[in-house]
Symmetry: C2
């Protein structure tokens, strides 16, 4: 049973979801895994340019909450691959709805099939 | 056209969505409006106990981004009611999916029909 955050909020499942996922980066890490990222370097190469310390922190949190699992693919030095658990895959619908909403109301955003994401137009 | 945040990220519609909604409170304010909250006192009475300064800030942001509209219902003193725009109502799907995910993976959370939310069990 993953631990719930310390601060008290309601039992609303949306609040619990936001306690874990409610920031600007966590769901983008989940999205990157859905798009094929596996290794730390894959995430670092993401066009979001997530700062390294934030990336480490969010991957750790996702593992703690059972959304992502990590597995060593190299022993010396120890390096890990990250995969979504079933619970992580279940977030696909949330991401799909956010994508639809973004596409509908921010037409300058774009989902390029096969390319994932690209830099925002200025 | 609502302004986009200053910091650069990708054109991914999920990133744009999280730039606006990616925190622990904003979507709970949207949820409270969907559940019937209209006036500032309604939001303050929410079981989330959103701190007043955060509540003011998030309502302002939601208005700026065209997700919520506010209308004066009293002139002296000026007081406002808040309603979702069409763009705001379109977030219902995101909230529904978060609710489903929370209910599925955190069975201690509960959605009580008609009651909205209640305090988390300890």
């Amino acid at each position: 049973m993953p631990k719930l955050p310390d601060f008290e909020r309601s039992t609303c499942p949306v609040a619990v979801c936001l306690d874990i996922l409610g920031d600007k980066w966590t769901l983008l890490v989940v999205r990157d895994i859905l798009l094929g990222a596996r290794r730390f370097s894959d995430f670092e190469a993401s066009p979001e340019a997530v700062p390294t310390n934030i990336l480490s922190d969010r991957l750790k949190k996702l593992v703690e909450h059972g959304i992502v699992e990590k597995k060593a693919y190299s022993e010396r030095p120890v390096r890990y691959e990250y995969r979504l658990t079933r619970k992580g895959h279940a977030l696909r619908k949330v991401l799909k709805d956010m994508m639809d909403w973004g596409n509908q109301y921010y037409p300058e955003t774009a989902t390029v099939p096969g390319e994932g994401v690209s830099t925002r137009r200025k």
